[in-house]
């Protein structure tokens, strides 16, 4: 009970500050925390990246395996996104099968990559309808300090850009790996931008303290030409249509800024 009271007091403080356009950690309402991206930390993975978003830390590993395509898409490789909220990342995470939060996280990251057609899945076919490559994107949260969605989406994109596709040949229907690599074909760069609604105001990149005070959350994923390619509302609060359109405009700007950090032209 005391912890609930304490949380409510802290949430109230966060909300009061935001009413005056200020944030507990001194950021402006449309500022992200400091972002660090490192690629290729895991040699065993075909691709990997770690993103630090303030104190939030997410590692993404990409593995590629041969497998069967889906029946309705025989001429496309397969994308699978999974997220693990491992217990070392937060006192609130527990070991066990994925709960609704990790499933939502994985599915929001998945939607951004899939709907923007970021991976050229048509290039991952060995034999149409029989054998294709499956791209496993595994999101591993290492430290939870809020806004896991943006950190995970950013890390996933960085890891995919870092992914090496092995050379292979087909012998008697079996895929044989040959020496040498080429980059995984990537066509688009989706960026997730998440807003928290606190005290009827929108702030980008909520950290943990703000997530605990927020009424609702809205993620917009923007692809490289500025189109919206995925969206997800969360939390028990509401948004007005005006707030959604306003968020759309800010998301455009923020996505352009963030993309420059991952995609080096």
């Amino acid at each position: 009970m005391t912890s609930i009271v304490a949380a409510k007091v802290r949430a109230k403080r966060v909300a009061q500050l935001i009413a005056g356009g200020k944030r507990l950690d001194g950021r402006e309402v449309n500022d992200y925390r400091e972002i660090q991206i490192e690629s290729g930390l895991i040699e065993r993975a075909e691709g990997s990246a770690r993103v630090r978003l303030g104190k939030t830390e997410v590692l993404v590993g990409v593995k590629i395996e041969a497998g069967e395509p889906f029946l309705d898409t025989p001429n496309e490789g397969v994308l699978t996104v999974n997220a693990e909220l491992v217990p070392l990342a937060s006192p609130t995470f527990e070991a066990g099968p994925p709960d609704e939060n990790s499933i939502e996280l994985a599915r929001v990251v998945d939607r951004g990559i899939r709907e923007s057609k970021a991976i050229a899945t048509e290039d991952l076919v060995v034999e149409a309808g029989k054998k294709v490559f499956i791209v496993f994107v595994d999101v591993y949260v290492l430290n939870h300090d809020g806004n896991l969605i943006d950190a995970s989406a950013l890390a996933a994109l960085a890891a995919l850009l870092n992914t090496k596709m092995f050379n292979y040949e087909v012998k008697e229907g079996e895929v044989k790996i040959k020496p040498g690599y080429k980059p995984l074909p990537i066509n688009n760069h989706p960026i997730a931008v998440t807003f928290a609604k606190i005290n009827d105001k929108l702030v980008v990149d909520p950290w943990l303290e703000e997530e605990q005070a927020m009424e609702a959350r809205l993620t917009m994923t923007i692809e490289k030409d500025g189109k919206v390619c995925a969206m997800q509302k969360g939390g028990y609060g509401i948004f007005t249509t005006q707030q959604i359109l306003e968020a759309g405009k800010i998301a455009q700007q923020k996505a352009t800024e963030l993309r420059k950090l991952v995609v080096k032209e």
Partner: protein
């Protein structure tokens, strides 16, 4: 024989080449901003505290509410409000290929967003430490089940007599073959290069309580789609109110009939 029937079924359900013709008429005869036919009934299950049924196109969905009631397991109790628990589930026979009855990742996510779409409408603070359990069963799916599910669930909550700020109405809009359209069917949803944006909305509060999207929309299309979805929600809201009124009208009629009978008996 069964195979032949199956094959016939498949060809009859084959996707038409064009989903929208030159006259802006959709493959099923609808205009761009036209919803599928909706039929709603409230209060149709005996055991539940509240229930409702919806048909929207070929979607057939049941919702039932139990509660507020004692919460189990106890540790899920919330000290300041009722816990709204929601399960969205699809029957194995609801789709073309049999779906395993075990909850899929998609169903887990929809259960979550559905709960978050409905909770803003419910005065959960009136019933601390209790559970309000909401069950949504999709008997047949034809695109837009999460929206129809929210629409029908909100009615089941109202039918259970739970105090609410407003009804939650849901409807999707999206893009099919380059055009913004209302209430996508399964075939339209699966068309390539489209987009689908499910929205749940409380009409008298201008409050969006569910918002998702997949596909690709330019900023202009995005605004257009959002506005169209909200208009759809407003239409749904009217239908919901009519369905609730219809339930009480039939109840009133039944009472009046009983009274008449009693009067006649008294005369005799």
């Amino acid at each position: 024989m069964i195979n032949l029937v199956r094959r016939l079924l498949k060809t009859s359900q084959k996707k038409p080449e064009k989903l929208i013709d030159e006259k802006e008429i959709r493959y099923d005869g609808r205009k761009l901003n036209e919803m599928r036919p909706v039929k709603i009934e409230v209060g149709i299950l005996g055991n539940a505290d509240g229930s409702a049924y919806i048909e929207q196109g070929k979607n057939r969905i049941l919702a039932a509410v139990y509660g507020p009631r004692e919460i189990h397991p106890k540790h899920q109790a919330l000290p300041d409000r009722a816990a709204l628990r929601c399960r969205y589930h699809m029957a194995p026979f609801s789709v073309q290929e049999r779906k395993s009855p075990a909850p899929s990742r998609r169903e887990v996510e929809i259960s979550k967003v559905m709960r978050e779409a409905l909770e803003p409408s419910v005065f959960t603070e009136y019933y601390p430490r209790t559970a309000i359990d909401l069950f949504v069963e999709v008997l047949q799916a034809d695109g837009g089940t999460r929206c129809a599910g929210i629409t029908v669930a909100s009615l089941a909550l109202a039918d259970a007599g739970i105090p609410m700020r407003d009804l939650v109405s849901a409807c999707a809009a999206g893009k099919v073959e380059g055009r913004v359209v209302l209430d996508l069917s399964d075939v339209e949803d699966k068309s390539s290069d489209g987009a689908d944006m499910p929205v749940a909305y409380m009409s008298s509060l201008n409050a969006v309580t569910l918002l998702q999207m997949d596909g690709m929309l330019t900023p202009d299309e995005f605004e257009q789609t959002l506005n169209m979805a909200v208009e759809g929600c407003k239409q749904i809201s009217q239908l919901q109110k009519e369905a609730l009124k219809a339930k009480y009208a039939t109840a009133k009629e039944a009472v009046a009939e009983k009274e008449e009978e009693a009067e006649e008996e008294a005369k005799e």
